[in-house]
């Protein structure tokens, strides 16, 4: 009997986790932002001299940012304004053009950073600076600041 319930619970959990990973744009974009931040940690850690410079790690992080720039814009459809403790601000939907512009700028800066192919701390600093600025420019008006 208890095995029956356990299997029901497990399959429910499985189905809902598939649903979350598969079709929920909020969960998807939150995961994307987590990955983006992990990439920022790798690059920022080098710039802050908390870890040694590694050109391959830096490029992998830039590629992660490129994935964000490519996919994130699509993950804020109508109907995904609330839920999952989202930090997305209502301005994304009321000022979609402005939001798209910030996303496009992020994409441009990431492309430039990848093209620069940073091979030293100095070139990485020069390449990543405009990308961080692009992150901030969007978090300025399109993200709600919540306490962790």
């Amino acid at each position: 009997m208890s095995r029956f319930f356990v299997s029901i619970i497990l399959s429910t959990l499985f189905i809902s986790s598939v649903a979350v990973a598969g079709s929920d744009p909020i969960a998807k974009r939150q995961q994307l932002m987590e990955d983006t931040r992990d990439a920022a940690k790798a690059i920022g850690g080098m710039l802050k001299e908390q870890r040694p410079f590694d050109a391959d790690v830096a490029m992998a992080a830039l590629e992660t940012w490129k994935k964000t720039a490519t996919e994130a814009g699509e993950l804020f459809p109508e109907g995904s304004e609330t839920g999952h403790d989202t930090e997305a601000k209502s301005t994304i939907w009321s000022d979609r053009d402005g939001f798209n512009e910030k996303m496009a700028n992020f994409n441009t800066q990431v492309d430039a950073a990848i093209a620069a192919n940073p091979d030293s701390l100095e070139t990485l600093n020069a390449a990543a600076g405009p990308v961080f600025k692009a992150c901030k420019a969007c978090h300025d008006g399109y993200r709600v600041e919540k306490e962790d």
Binding site: R37, A40, K41, G44, G45, L47, K48, K89, S90, F132, K133, C135, K136, A137, H139, D140, R143, V144, E145, K146, E147
Partner: protein, 298 residues
């Protein structure tokens, strides 16, 4: 009958007393020091104060900010419209004397003797030195003029009665420092000056009491976001604030906009951080030292 006369007299006395006490007061010209203006120090204070964040009428990355104003601030009291403080003599503050400027910054009083609303954070600027105000005015005078007149504030009753501001000032306008620091610690004194004075950090990071004044018992302990959604974080050394941030991380954050977890700064703080990044590193170090010395609270 006699008793009525006495009570009426008392009421009249209190009314007159209140009218006198809440009148806009202007400083005497004698307060101004003999001082040769230092434009570069004025620019430094301009960034520390983030004047451009509210007053600019140009794109934020413009080489030279134009301070034509016009930004609308929507608040529960109504809409405030940020004024033109460019040096244009007709539309801006080009015709102001140094004393006019000092009166505005220290006392929240206009050249024609009206109270300014505390949306203009003179409750912090009152802690600025006269020398610094002279330098700041001198710097502002070097910026381009803007020929645009902004509409008046649009506030509901009773907020549109400016006499009320006089009463508010009696309770909330205080030049005294909030946090005491050792008198021989120049770093902390500088940090306190920047945070409590020109930086006006407490205006957003300190919660307000029921009459809208700062609750200094919870100085910098975080508050609801005046823009609406979300919260302005606790920046005291409390565990819910900056307890885990070493000095160097606070300095790095103010310079780069990146938190110790490599999240980025967001909301109105983006502008503030970008202004702070224009300060000399020693000023960011002073701010960090002061924030770690504030009493922890939440």
């Amino acid at each position: 009958m006699k008793r009525l006369a006495i009570s009426l007299g008392l009421v009249a006395f209190v009314v007159v007393l209140l009218m006198v006490m809440t009148r806009p007061t202007r400083l005497s010209p004698d307060v101004l020091p003999v001082h040769t203006p230092d434009v570069s120090n004025g620019a430094r204070l301009f960034h520390a104060g983030g004047c451009a964040s509210c007053h600019r009428s140009t794109e934020k990355d413009a080489e030279t900010p134009v301070l034509g104003g016009g930004l609308e601030m929507n608040t529960p009291f109504g809409t405030f419209r940020v004024p033109n403080i460019s040096p244009d003599p007709d539309y801006g503050i080009g015709n102001w004397s140094t004393l006019d400027f000092v009166n505005a910054m220290h006392n929240g009083v206009s050249p024609d003797g009206r109270h300014y609303y505390p949306a203009f954070p003179y409750t912090s600027y009152i802690r600025m030195s006269f020398e610094d105000l002279v330098d700041l005015k001198t710097y502002l005078d070097t910026l381009p003029g803007a020929e645009n007149r902004n509409e008046e504030h649009d506030l509901g009753f009773p907020w549109n009665v400016r006499a009320g501001i006089g009463a508010w000032k009696l309770l909330n306008l205080d030049p005294a420092a909030v946090v005491s620091v050792p008198s021989d610690n120049d770093l902390l004194i500088r940090g306190r000056y920047l945070v409590e004075g020109p930086g006006h950090c407490g205006e957003c990071h300190t919660p307000r009491n029921w009459i809208g004044g700062p609750d200094n018992s919870r100085w910098l302990a975080g508050a609801p976001n005046p823009d609406g959604e979300g919260r302005v974080p606790n920046i005291t050394p409390h565990e819910k604030g900056l307890a885990d941030w070493p000095h160097s991380d606070i300095e790095y954050y103010l310079e780069s906009g990146l938190t110790p977890d490599f999240d980025t700064v967001g909301g109105s703080m983006v502008d503030v951080q970008e202004n702070m990044s224009r300060l000399p590193a020693e000023d960011r170090a002073a701010i960090a030292a002061y924030l770690k010395a504030v009493p922890p609270s939440f």
